[in-house]
Amino acid sequence: MKYYDKLIFELSNEGSIGYSLPKDDFSDISVDLDSSLLRNDTLDLPQVSELTVLRHYTNLSHKNFGVETGFYPLGSCTMKYNPKINEYVASFRGFRRIHPLSDESLVQGSLQIYYEMEQMLSELTGLDAFTFSPFAGAHGELVGLMIMKQYHLLRNDTKRTKVIVPTSAHGTNPASAAVCGFDIIEVPSLDNGRVDVKALKEVLSDEVAGMMLTNPNTLGLFENEIEEISKLIHDAGGLMYYDGANLNALLGYAKIGNMGFDIMHINLHKTFSTPHGGGGPGSGPVGVKAFLKDYLPAPIVDKVNDKYVFKTPSHSIGRISGFYGNFLVVVKAYTYLLSLGKENIKNVAYYSVLNANYIKESLKDEYELPIDDVCMHEFVFDGLKDKSTGVKTLDVAKRLLDYGYHAPTIYFPLLFEQSIMIEPTEVENKETIDDFIKVMKQIAKEAIEDPELVKGAPHHTPIRRIDEVKAAKKPVLKFKDIGKYD
């Protein structure tokens, strides 16, 4: 394929146009505005024909890498395939063309989706009520913490200003808690990767609002002491918050509510196969136990006399999105759940865990496995086993690009120096996974036989090794910054 890296502005050709507009009837009308508010120069837009625009963006699109191009083992992100039926259903005119201000009586079907989605998520998680207002996972975390705060404040328990997070937590957890006005207490992890329960006991007090936990945790390990942890937090008067990032590992096998969690968020764009990252808007529904139902953001959907209606919960934290969240994303997740059905949903967790363990066991002779244990849906290596070659995790990740793979998550979690975090998800077949294992072994071999080859990777991508220091210190964010367009 021909290499293509043009900017649309470079294609501009004086006089080329891609539109045909009728004569401007208003050109002789004067506008009574201060001259400082009027544009005097012409708008600096590229002058291009329709075909030029089409070719430009089609060529750029060929540079995309997504789960539809190849294997995407990005740990902690659950980059699973987004079945096309989701898009098909979301494109129904009845969903696509409704107005957010429509009267409830005109959108009963859409409200039914919210209502039934809440029931399905409740069944899967063991939590009693959900809001679909949050736009993404981190937004869900903020909403969950606002509920936690509201709960304590309305009981006049004003001392609770601290939220506990383990050292292995996703960065968003302490960030969300800080944005919500909490102070953060970090608890360390044990050598086996789990929360240090003894250390947790030492930080408990009547100032603790709650604890945020991901289970399985960021190392892909199940927190076996979860019952004890929940009990300790509850006895101290705090609430348990579940970060749903790793829910994929548990679907149909374990309920979050049964582990003692009171509040959780779900990333529909991870676990429930809606587009992720740049592929589309996200959705971060928040679920709560019944005693917190009245704190949910407004509005929630209820069913009264066979009609679906919007309601504002009595102690609601208020509105957290303009309307009702990203509705079509919920439609896609709803479609995913119905197309899998109750009988197949367990296979999601089953194969995601099996695939991760298969890769881990196949590669642990070449890569350092710091915690040799059965993992859940993902696991973490601490770089190559043979450290003498000087080849680091970054080099391995770059070399993977040469072989046509998306790189795994690297240098996270921070518990190890050379973390590589791999999450295959349930959607990959054995052939794809075997090919990946073969390539990872090949890279380990290259690191010993020809370390410079790996340190200089990638060699076959359109852009070679990026100067990350320059990218961080002098980012070029608009075309005029490149210099040659001044």
């Binding site: 970054l394 240098y411 996270f412 921070l414 990350e468 220091v469 961080a472 210190k473």
Partner: protein
């Protein structure tokens, strides 16, 4: 193998301390800069700030991660290395020649809890 310099005090959190009288220079070790990778930003405290031992007095941000800087001993900041604002990479180039802050040490007895070069070398082996 990371470089360790004789005659300095070391913290387990990978800061070095060079003491002259009751004044000390604080920087990060070679091991720390190597683990962090290319440093792109150093978050410095202000002169006059006071910190207790093990307080975070700033942060180092690299292409890989942001990492807190910890006080090996308690003290008051009397000088910060302004050069690092424009050239944070100095911490990669020579971590021992480029200090981050200079402090007036509150209690010289706290130095007893720190490691010497040999013990630190052992820690990072």
């Amino acid at each position: 193998m990371s470089k360790v310099v004789e005659g300095l005090y070391y913290a387990k959190t990978h800061e070095w301390l060079k003491v002259e009288g009751d004044v000390a220079l604080i920087g990060i070790t070679d091991y720390a800069q190597d683990s962090l990778g290319d440093v792109v930003f150093v978050d410095l405290p202000s002169v006059g700030d006071s910190f207790d031992k093990e307080d975070s007095f700033g942060a180092v941000e690299s292409v890989k991660a942001a990492s807190d800087l910890m006080m090996p001993v308690g003290g008051e900041v009397i000088e910060v290395n302004e050069e690092l604002n424009d050239a944070p990479e100095l911490l990669n180039e020579d971590p021992y020649a480029n200090f981050i802050i200079k402090i007036k040490v509150n209690d010289l007895d706290e130095l007893n809890d720190l490691l010497d070069a040999k013990a630190y070398e052992e820690l990072t082996k």
